[in-house]
Symmetry: C2
Subunit: 336 residues, 2 copies
């Protein structure tokens, strides 16, 4: 059994998102806590800018929530997750490095919520982020190379998000359950078609989650995947149909939400930051007001490295899911 | 508070280590579950060999313990922790990717033990591993380059270890507490002197652990660091003395234990596999028999990437500590 039920329902008492210029010009532009228009964020390298996004998000959520966390659970896409690790020099808190590729926001949240739910620690931060320029350089080619993008490519989001969970006070949003992903590999080798590679893992986790929690897609006001993009989204719908689950109009992909159709991002947004900034703004805001009563947030990750691709390997993928509920609904359900 | 006390004392019911030829010729040679003398392990690349070491260790511990685990917590040193992630394709269990550089065995154990202690899952595997040839290629230069090693260098262990923890049955070894590390950076930039870079993080975690658990170095039959090597070990002793703690003859470094002085490994062994194969053999065996009643196992990690070094950054480090006790002593303490 890989679905976790949070008995004590950890409270989401704070969230913070910092996004880049392109993201600020998209449909979610007014939902971010902060926008940084300089792609270098005042630093000398894009890598240093990415870690500064982490520091901004983590310090932002700590300041806003006015709670002192016991530990930070975080990761990113760069080799040796250096953005999260280097950022933690400035934060000074105990730190658990998490790697789930683009599923890292969800995976960090699952582990953070588990610790808080169990009472092993009182307050935790989960964080993830990415940067377009660093991801291009590391996974494809440096921007200066001027590589042509195939139409199936996705655009790595520049931004970071952080969530603060606690068992010390109540809030309008709680985490109620989560399903940890399994590594699935359908043999896809095209590094410019991550959506297709990740869809099978997404279908596996969603189907297991629905089964273990005895829920159906319509039991959620909204279901979000991280960054499947258009191809991946269609593949997920097809694969889930085979499992007996039909995704309706309540299904969204953060990769499609974050940019508008006019922004030339091909299949949509991607990267750890994509789901991180969508969750820590747009999604949590709607959960806070009660517009969403129950949300399934599932981010997917492609677990490749450039080395494995050079060596001719296919792309194993994973998807991690966590459910957030508006507290009022939770109370009603409990009192039945 | 960053020290976790495991109230339900998760049982260590299985451990497995697989080591390479050089490791098998060292002082711990007869403590490994399996030795693989072919550095390619029958695969075409060293990277594929490394992930096969993971599969061997995880399948080995599952077979020996005859328990079906709910999840695997694992990581390694390669970019995007591909050894652990790719191995998980063959294992098929829910998977949480953990990154703590060479502290990954300890960090994976802490998270796995936390989940089992909390009852969020029943049985978990923690695993970590490394390979000399893949680490040299990624962090320094490919072996074919024939790079000269400075005397402060360490030798990455070829091997992997896996531990199985459960709340479903009792065993002679239990996890009792753990301290999660903070990222510490003293400004050291020499990638051939990891011991010096990691010692301050080791001192920080050890001092916090002693303080939070109200213990002293002599309260443990043995204290193991992961791979500080000779320089790092001396630095740790000095730094801890400043904090009021004197490490005695019960302090060992896995990096020094795993190879003999005749094996030309400079400062000693290193890599995720170093502490992983020492713990999942030598250390657990002595805890099983009761020769060790209480052991503090702390692995350190240097959180750099080649990119950060090229960009002139220093080396942030972390250390994660977990305490294992022989069950009999535990019972006596409880009955007082």
């Amino acid at each position: 059994m890989s679905t976790i039920f949070f008995k004590n329902k950890p409270s989401v008492v704070g969230w913070y998102s910092v996004a880049g210029k392109k993201e600020s010009e998209g449909p979610l532009g007014n939902t971010f806590s902060r926008v940084v228009k300089d792609e270098y964020y005042g630093e000398k390298t894009h890598e240093a800018a990415e870690r500064k996004l982490f520091v901004t998000a983590i310090q932002g959520v700590m300041r806003d929530a006015a709670l002192s966390p016991d530990a930070v659970f975080a990761g990113d896409l760069l080799n040796q997750i250096v953005s999260a690790s280097f950022a933690m020099r400035d934060i000074g808190l105990p730190y658990v490095g998490i790697y789930g590729a683009c599923s890292t926001m969800a995976l960090s949240l699952i582990v953070a919520a588990s610790y808080v739910d169990a009472g092993l620690i009182k307050t935790a931060i989960a964080a993830a982020g990415s940067h377009f320029a660093t991801a291009e350089r590391q996974y494809r080619t440096p921007l200066e190379f001027g590589n042509q993008r195939p139409p199936s490519a996705q655009w790595t989001v520049t931004g970071a998000g952080a969530t603060l969970l606690t068992n010390q006070k109540k809030s309008a949003i709680v985490a109620t359950s989560a399903t940890i992903g399994r590594v699935i590999d359908y043999g896809i080798k095209d590094v410019n078609n991550m959506g297709a590679a990740m869809a099978p893992a997404a279908a596996d986790t969603l189907a297991r989650h629905f089964k273990n929690t005895k829920t159906k897609p319509n039991d959620y006001d909204a279901i979000f995947t991280g960054d499947l993009g258009r191809i991946g989204e269609e593949a997920l719908r097809d694969l889930l149909k085979d499992e007996g689950y039909v995704l309706g109009d309540n299904y969204y992909d953060c990769g499609k939400l974050v940019y508008s159709g006019k922004q030339k991002v091909d299949m949509g947004g991607s990267g750890c930051g994509c789901s991180a900034i969508t969750l820590n703004g747009f999604i949590f805001s709607k959960l806070q007001t009660g517009e969403y009563q129950r949300v399934l947030f599932m981010a997917t990750g492609a677990l490749l490295s450039p080395t494995t691709s050079y060596q001719g390997e296919s792309i194993p993928s994973v998807a991690n899911a966590i459910v957030f509920e508006h507290q009022k609904q939770q109370t009603e359900v409990n009192s039945k």
